[in-house]
């Protein structure tokens, strides 16, 4: 009895407010991933030395220590870049995937009631051969 009462409400919601909710959640996920993978912070410090490791620069010019400074700091920057870049790429990949998934799900949402009936019919066919 009650199921019949709420069904019209559901159908109306499915094609109206549910879209708002859907896009809101989609946006939340994308911004979460952007923040979780610290994309902005990692990009802005992409070439910064890893964990601030490095040699201190000495003022009096000594070719040997200057070379040491350049090499060590260069290596630390490289290490920072090597670690950060995959995380940034991984994050971007996830964001892109969620974006694509969102497109796919929104398309699915459109046909969801029909798709649900289709899945149900598949189950009937499998179980009872109908």
């Amino acid at each position: 009895m009650y199921i019949l009462l709420f069904l019209p409400y559901y159908i109306r919601w499915h094609y109206t407010r549910a879209w708002q909710d859907f896009f809101q959640n989609w946006k939340t996920f994308v911004s979460f991933l952007y923040s979780f993978f610290s994309i902005r912070a990692l990009l802005s410090t992409l070439f910064a030395p890893w964990r601030r490791l490095g040699e201190e620069r000495v003022n009096n010019f000594d070719p040997e220590s200057f070379l040491g400074f350049v090499i060590v700091n260069g290596l630390m920057r490289l290490l920072g870049f090597v670690i950060r870049l995959p995380v940034v790429l991984f994050g971007l990949f996830f964001i892109f995937s969620v974006f694509l998934l969102g497109v796919f799900l929104s398309a699915m949402w459109l046909i969801f009631p029909v798709a649900l009936l289709f899945v149900f019919s598949l189950s009937l066919k499998g179980l009872f051969g109908i």
Binding site: Y2, I3, L5, F6, Y9, Y10, W13, H14, R17, A18, D21, N25, T28, F29, F32, S35, F36, F37, S38, A41, L42, T45, A48, W50, R51, R52, L53, G80, I83, R84, V87, F112, L116, V119, F120, L122, S123, L124, K125, G126, L127, F128, G129
Partner: protein, 790 residues
């Protein structure tokens, strides 16, 4: 607002109300979990993990998939409506559920029978059987049309109030359980908040939940402070706490630490006022990315000064460790260093003869390192305040203790984890009682800490008793065990005592009706809970000549009301008239000499404090009592609170005795002359009027008449007779003896003192002589004649 209007406003919840009626949310959640399990199994089966799938197995997979998708869609539908805001007001689906289910002819039934309604009442300590019996035995039914819903804090509370106002029977039922409509309203907000939070937590995809997941890679641009790992640890905090105990202070701390220079803060406050909670609040804001941009990646590390001092017994070692810590923190670039007892750190450094200013100042000005020092007030005044160099680099935040409302909000949240950990269930009145009791009986600790302690102790108490529900009575039992103060329901013996206090006191005190009535009234007020809990149980100033029963009244009161073992905390105030009197009472600054008054009250916080010869102490001490009488507590020299709220304070004084004698000689009514006599005492500068006004009662003791003296003599002789009886001898108390004593012991100036002396010098002496001579032996009887007494 009428019921129908409210129903109309809530009509947008109808879709999920119908859904709930078909398949409830709880059932859907369980089904979804089961379906998810079968979905994985059937999916693997369909993929051929367990051999080639049959058509039925594939059909089974599609059936499970169909059901899972359907339930997921229904849940999305449910959450969408559940969290929908209606025209900006805080409506709840739970209220809509009650309203839609309420029959027109019985408004109470709809509320009591609803899941939320019965949960609220159960949380208030009302048993299910009581509710059923109430519903069954009601005589009148309130129609929904009779409800008048007045706008209040929340619409749910308004609705509950409307139910109480419309249905007297329901109101009486609630009141009979020791509850008030206000408690039910507050409990309803709490229960609804819990339901709402748990629904929010189900939505793991919600922005609020996702914001609490710590990001990766944010700290990679900062260094790792390896040196710091030995000497400090990250701040511990609960990321899920929704309310802050010190919201304003957290905001101030955030603003101060966000400055580009000298961003160092000293958090000072009394012991247990929640200083560390401010930093925990900041840590939550940083985690949730709500803090200012300059604090966004900061790490809060708490330095373990004890470990530092345990490992550095020399100045050079100490300084090198400190410099190592500070350098590591500067290099890391995102550290907020917290010193939980900054005063002790500075003091420890000074004891090693280290130049703490020279050590700290270069780092205090650094933009890459923030210091937060925490200190209690007395140590701040003693150690940090005089150090002007340090003071210029720190901003101070003075923490005020959280009030009852704030503490309640935090406890409402924390109680759930306590219930989960301990396997018990707290009623809402138990939480309220824990806060009220903490405020009244444990002022020396912070309200939050002592209320939490009470809840913990009550948990152990209930579990030992084999129960799971913690009630307000359990909290009061814990208070009684911890303090010895009678709390909770008044039993028959105590009831009898309270009702007959005047008669019981008169068994020992002759005359002095006014004093006895005032004291008895004060005690009844205190025990019934109508007196001001922020002041002592009662406070009285007894004026009168020597030997009229001032001290005896106090002793009788202590014994009758507080039991025979009750201690009277007696202080002869004439001993406290020197310059150091205040320090002798509350402790000396060296911290080694404890105060007489503070130690006394800490040891026996419940009973009678008798201040003899109150007028003879000095002004500073009188000012201390001004505070005690007003606020019910004072602070000792170390700043620790001493609770005097469970004492009856009686101060006695001979001041004004001459005026009393004068009035009696002129045959004037002492009560009518009271104002004049007290004014005289004030005029003479003995007591300030504000001190006299702080007492609950100023009582004049009149000199004893011969009839009263005769009664006192009788009481004294009966005491002697009782002592002799224990030795097997009998003393006959006859008129001859009484006439003799009244004649010999009658001196209005000294009250019963001469009478006492007459008994000692004459009667007791004669009895002693007879015992020594062998004339009086066990079994013999002694009766004095006129001749014996000459």
């Amino acid at each position: 607002m009428k019921f129908t209007e409210l129903k109309e406003k809530l009509s947008s919840y109808k879709p999920i109300f119908f859904l709930e009626k078909s398949v409830s949310h709880r059932v859907r959640l369980v089904f979804k979990k089961v379906l998810l399990f079968f979905l994985v199994i059937s999916f693997l089966t369909t993929l051929g993990f367990f051999g080639a799938p049959t058509a039925r197995e594939t059909g089974g997979f599609f059936l499970v998939l169909f059901l899972f998708l359907m339930f997921s869609a229904l849940d999305a539908f449910y959450y969408s409506f559940y969290f929908k805001k209606i025209s900006g007001e805080e409506f709840y689906f739970e209220l809509a559920e009650i309203i839609f289910k309420t029959p027109k002819e019985d408004a109470i039934k709809g509320f009591v029978n609803s899941v939320v309604g019965s949960t609220i009442l159960f949380r208030c300590g009302i048993a299910e059987e009581d509710l059923k019996s109430f519903l069954k035995n009601r005589k009148l039914f309130t129609q929904t049309s009779h409800l008048n819903i007045l706008k209040k804090d929340s619409i749910f509370e308004s609705y509950i109030d409307a139910l109480f106002s419309a249905d007297q029977e329901f109101r009486n039922f609630i009141l009979a359980h020791g509850l008030t409509p206000r408690i039910i309203s507050k409990a309803s907000s709490w229960v609804l908040g819990m339901i709402n939070r748990s629904k929010s937590n189900e939505r793991w995809w919600g922005a609020e939940r996702l914001s609490k997941i710590a990001p990766i890679g944010r700290g990679w641009a900062y260094g790792v402070a390896y040196e710091l790992m030995h000497w400090s640890s990250p701040i511990r905090f609960s990321p899920d706490q929704a309310h802050e105990l010190h919201q304003e202070e957290v905001a101030v701390l955030e603003a101060l630490l966000s400055r580009s220079k000298d961003a160092n803060v000293l958090i000072i406050g009394e012991e247990g006022s929640g200083k560390m909670e401010i930093l925990e609040g900041l840590a939550r804001r940083i985690l949730e990315k709500k803090s200012t941009a300059s604090l966004v990646d900061k790490k809060i590390l708490v330095v373990d000064s004890v470990v530092i001092f345990a490992n550095t017994t020399e100045k050079s070692k100490f300084e090198s460790v400190c410099i190592g810590i500070f350098n590591a923190a500067v290099e890391a670039g995102n550290i907020i260093l917290v010193f939980p007892d900054f005063s002790a750190f500075v003091q420890g450094a000074e004891s090693l003869e280290s130049d703490i200013n020279g050590l700290l100042v270069p780092y205090l000005t650094s933009p890459s390192l923030h210091f937060v020092g925490i200190s209690d007030l007395p140590k701040y005044h003693e150690i940090l305040e005089p150090n002007q160099t340090l003071k210029t680099h720190f901003e101070t935040i003075l923490v005020k203790e959280g009030d009852e409302k704030q503490v309640l909000r935090i406890l409402e949240e924390e109680i759930l984890s306590l219930e989960f950990d301990e396997g018990v269930f707290f009623t809402y009145p138990a939480i309220l009682e824990a806060i009220a009791s903490a405020r009244q009986y444990f002022v020396e600790e912070s309200l939050f800490n002592s209320s939490t302690d009470l809840l913990f102790d009550a948990t152990a108490f209930v579990k030992a008793d084999g129960r799971v529900v913690v009630t307000a009575e359990d909290i009061l039992s814990v208070v009684k065990t911890k303090t010895g103060i009678p709390t909770g329901v008044i039993d028959e013996v105590e009831k009898h005592k309270l009702q007959n206090l005047e008669t019981l006191l008169h068994e020992r005190i002759v005359g002095q009706d006014e004093a006895i009535t005032s004291i008895s009234d004060a005690l009844r007020r205190a025990r019934s809970g109508v007196s001001n809990p922020d002041r002592p149980i009662g406070s009285f100033l007894f004026f009168g000549p020597t030997g009229v029963g001032k001290t005896e009244t106090t002793k009788a009161l202590a014994e009758i009301f507080f039991g025979e073992k009750a201690k009277i905390l007696r202080i002869d105030m004439s001993e406290y008239n020197t310059a150091d009197a205040l320090n002798r009472l509350i402790g000396a600054f060296d911290g080694e000499t404890p105060g007489v008054l503070s130690s006394m009250i800490r040891e026996s916080p419940y009973g009678v404090l008798l201040l003899d010869e109150f007028e003879k102490t000095n002004e500073k001490v009188l000012d201390l009592f001004l505070q005690i009488l007003d606020e019910g507590f004072f602070s000792d020299v170390l700043g620790r609170k001493v609770n005097a709220r469970n004492l009856i304070i009686v101060a006695t004084s001979n001041a004004g005795s001459e005026h009393i004698f004068e009035s009696i000689e002129k045959k004037k009514n002492l009560n009518e002359m009271k104002e004049e006599i007290v004014d005289g005492i004030v005029r003479e500068g003995i007591f300030k009027p504000e001190l006299i006004n702080r007492f609950d009662g100023v009582i004049l003791f009149s000199p004893l008449s011969n009839t009263e003296l005769r009664e006192v003599a009788k009481i004294m002789l009966f005491r002697l007779s009782w002592r002799l009886k224990e030795k097997g001898m009998e003393l006959v108390v006859n008129n001859t003896l009484l006439d003799f004593l009244v004649e010999k012991g009658s001196d209005q100036k000294f009250g019963v003192r001469p009478l006492n002396r007459a008994i000692q010098d004459t009667i007791e002496k004669k009895v002693a002589d007879k015992i020594i001579s062998g004339e009086l032996r066990p079994g013999s009887k002694i009766e004095f004649s006129d001749f014996d007494l000459r």
